[in-house]
């Protein structure tokens, strides 16, 4: 009987892992992807939608078109996982049996954790959020823009910094820069989580006149007074507030008792197995690993999970290990970008921002659909710092 492999989530990690394991095992496995919408969304594009540089149409595709023909797609939500029985309960009442499970359910948002956030702020962490922000920016006639982070961990750590740079650019192009202020509210005592990247970013922020408030962990928002307050006891007035909403793990993980206090899956940092269940793996934003929550992380993790499951099915020694590899671009405005490449052992040494890296990011965005989910970037997806 073929091994039953169920993948929860049709994002970058889930799609790639399903395609790779199905390709590797052929008839020895029956691979099923379960996704509540059946649509694959390219979330890095939200930033460009918010700034009016892209429309939402190119950001979503039918998940079916990204999966190999021999991978089954179930368009339904998973409500409960029983790892011992090897069963996933579905929203519509059915149950799926598995021998191996991959949790690639991503991160959910918990905006209600910060009083006033929903009424008082904008975000670009969903397509409709990005579209609302785009319209708000169109109406903007100058004033104080604050960009902040309402909870850690959050997806795509460079995104708030990128937004600050890009919105400053946007204001200049619209002739509103002199009537406006842009300030980044950072939860840390520097602009960015990674120190080497902060050292590169902060002088550019200074040169562009972008303000930086450090140790500003958002506690509450007063929508009528247009004031945001920090846990550290500071207050800041705004005309337009853009906040990354607090994130947490998905309900199915919590409902199944498989997550930590915030719903993240306790995951072995090397094998990507659940810490208590050998037949359960986790990829991407769903894990509790202390690395970036990003598509890039999921992209590098998926081949490791696919290879490890294939080894378990075949009864051979598993050799693929995840070394913490992440690679992401960081837009610095003015049509320039830099790149952050790092792993568990090596912090990034980002190159000086250039047009070439901006072009590389643009190319990556354009080529995404034909490459990443289908495993067609072998030099990144297969080797890319992962130890084998």
């Amino acid at each position: 009987m073929p091994a039953r492999i169920v993948v929860l989530g049709g994002g970058v990690g889930g799609t790639l892992a399903a395609n790779l394991v199905s390709k590797e095992l052929g008839g020895d496995a029956r691979v099923t992807v379960v996704d509540p919408t059946g649509m694959h969304v390219y979330q890095p594009g939200f930033l460009y939608v918010a700034l009016g540089q892209a429309n939402g149409r190119w950001l979503a595709r039918d998940e079916r078109t990204l999966l190999r023909n021999d991978v089954e797609l179930v368009v339904d939500g998973a409500t409960r996982i029983d790892p011992e029985a090897g069963a996933v309960e579905l929203s519509r009442g059915g149950t799926l049996a598995f021998d191996y499970l991959v949790i690639a359910t991503g991160a959910g948002y918990a905006p209600e954790q910060v009083p006033g956030l929903i009424e008082g702020s904008h975000d670009f962490y969903s397509l409709d959020g990005a579209q609302r922000l785009r319209e708000e920016l169109r109406r903007f006639r100058g004033g104080r823009i604050l960009v902040g982070i309402a909870g850690i961990p959050y997806k795509c750590p460079p995104a708030p910094v990128e937004f600050a740079f890009m919105v400053e650019d946007y204001l200049r192009r619209r002739g509103l820069r002199e009537r406006s202020e842009v300030t980044l509210l950072s939860p840390l005592n520097r602009a960015f989580t990674i120190e080497s990247a902060s050292k590169l970013i902060q002088p550019i922020m200074e040169a562009r006149g972008i303000g930086l408030s450090t140790f500003f962990n958002v506690e509450s928002v007063d929508p009528s007074g247009h004031v945001v307050a920090s846990l550290e006891g500071e207050k800041a007035e705004y005309d337009l507030l853009v906040l990354v909403p607090p994130h947490r793990g998905q309900a199915v993980v919590e409902a199944s008792g498989l997550g930590d206090a915030s719903g993240w899956v306790p995951t072995d940092r090397t094998t990507l197995q659940h810490e208590r269940h050998e037949n359960v793996f986790a990829i991407g934003d769903a894990t509790n690993l202390p690395i970036s929550k990003s598509g890039s992380t999921a992209h590098f993790e998926a081949p490791v999970v696919a290879s490890r499951i294939a080894s378990l099915v075949r009864g051979t020694a598993a050799r693929a290990n995840y070394g913490g590899r992440v690679m992401c671009f960081l837009e610095t405005g003015d049509g320039r970008a830099t790149a952050l490449r790092f792993d568990y052992e090596h912090p990034p040494t980002p190159p000086r921002p250039s047009r070439a890296w901006h072009l590389a990011k643009w190319m990556f965005n354009r080529l995404y659909w034909e490459t990443v989910p289908k495993g067609r970037i072998p030099e990144i997806g297969r080797r890319g710092g992962n130890e084998r």
Partner: protein, 80 residues
């Protein structure tokens, strides 16, 4: 060791890279009660500057900093 205060909650952030230990402390202080004593164990060198700097900025009390074998123990009391 010179811990003089009863610790209400311990966060073992050893092995966690920067800024993990600080963010774990911030999360605990956010959820905690005034007067609660939180202890963070960190093996990351950056914590030695980041954690005292944050505690000072947020006006809580840094009760103790103890160098242990391979890690540092930060004892913080939520003051407001």
């Amino acid at each position: 060791m010179t811990v003089t205060t009863n610790v209400d909650r311990t966060i073992d952030a050893r092995g966690m890279p920067c800024p993990g230990p600080l963010m774990s402390l911030i999360g605990a202080i956010r959820e905690g009660w005034v007067g609660e004593v939180v202890e963070v164990l960190s093996s990351d060198d950056g914590s030695k500057t980041d954690i005292p700097a944050w505690v000072a900025k947020a006006r809580h009390d840094l009760v103790d900093v103890v160098e242990e074998d391979g890690f540092t123990r930060f004892v913080v009391q939520k003051a407001r």
